[in-house]
């Protein structure tokens, strides 16, 4: 069964460093999302992406965040200058154009900023 994959599973970085989190959405899906979950808290929406542009973003998704679909399969989230409070699980999700409300999530990348 097709699934969303994410790499790396765990990323440790120093404060101020740039990180890129990678996702491979389900192959025929057209809508892509990033969410984050700080330990012990709710899953929070960051950004949605369709047709090579951002559809919607939350107030969390400030100028230090960016997303890109560099090729036909990958979807990336870049954090330019990480802060301690960026430590969280980051989940990528995707959905197809016929069932946009059904989002399928990847296993997540645990980002630890020290």
């Amino acid at each position: 069964e097709p699934e969303v994959t994410q790499t790396p599973s765990h990323q440790v970085t120093q404060m101020g460093q740039e990180v890129i989190l990678r996702c491979v959405p389900i192959s025929n899906h057209l809508y892509f999302y990033w969410y984050r979950q700080i330990l012990g808290q709710k899953v929070e929406f960051l950004v949605s992406f369709y047709n090579n542009e951002i559809s919607e973003k939350s107030e969390i998704f400030d100028d230090q965040f960016s997303v890109e679909r560099p090729d036909g399969s990958n979807f990336t989230l870049k954090i330019r200058s990480t802060k301690l409070e960026d430590s969280a699980m980051y989940f990528c999700a995707s959905s197809d154009k016929y069932r946009m409300s059904e989002q399928y999530f990847g296993p997540g990348t645990r980002l630890t900023v020290t």
């Binding site: 969303v4 994410q6 809508y31 999302y33 969410y35 709710k42 899953v43 929070e44 929406f45 949605s48 559809s55 919607e56 939350s58 699980m89 989940f91 959905s95 069932r99 946009m100 409300s101 059904e102 989002q103 399928y104 999530f105 990847g106 296993p107 997540g108 645990r110």
Partner: protein, 113 residues
């Protein structure tokens, strides 16, 4: 701001018992999803409900969307230890073209053998 409150937060029951968890909001959602999440993993989609009053069954799990599309429930019949996990509801706001999910606070279920 649309919020989804889930209750109870924690539930510990014996194998074979029935249970219901609730997902409530004062806002209307165009659809509502139920997920199950294991520690350190991503949420796994269980079901999507779209129509007010809709009932969907997935083996021993029964999902219902409220008539006004503001709330939902998940009922598990004859719970098994394999049902242990974190159950999350997530709603898609009614704003046209918006599919950012609002996630609930979660219900952590433990089924004891």
């Amino acid at each position: 701001t649309q919020l989804l409150e889930q209750s109870p937060q924690f539930l510990s029951i014996q194998e074979g018992e029935n249970l219901t968890v609730y997902c409530n909001s004062s806002s209307v959602f165009s659809s509502l999803q139920w997920y199950r999440q294991e520690p350190g993993e991503g949420p796994v989609l269980l079901v999507t409900v779209v129509t007010g009053g809709e009932v969907k069954k997935l083996k021993r799990l029964t999902f219902q969307f409220g008539d006004a599309r503001k709330d939902s429930s998940l009922h598990i019949t004859a719970a098994q230890p394999g049902d242990t996990g974190l159950y999350l509801c997530a709603g898609a706001p009614t704003t046209s073209g918006t599919y950012k999910y609002i996630f609930g606070t979660g219900t952590r279920l433990k089924v004891l053998a």
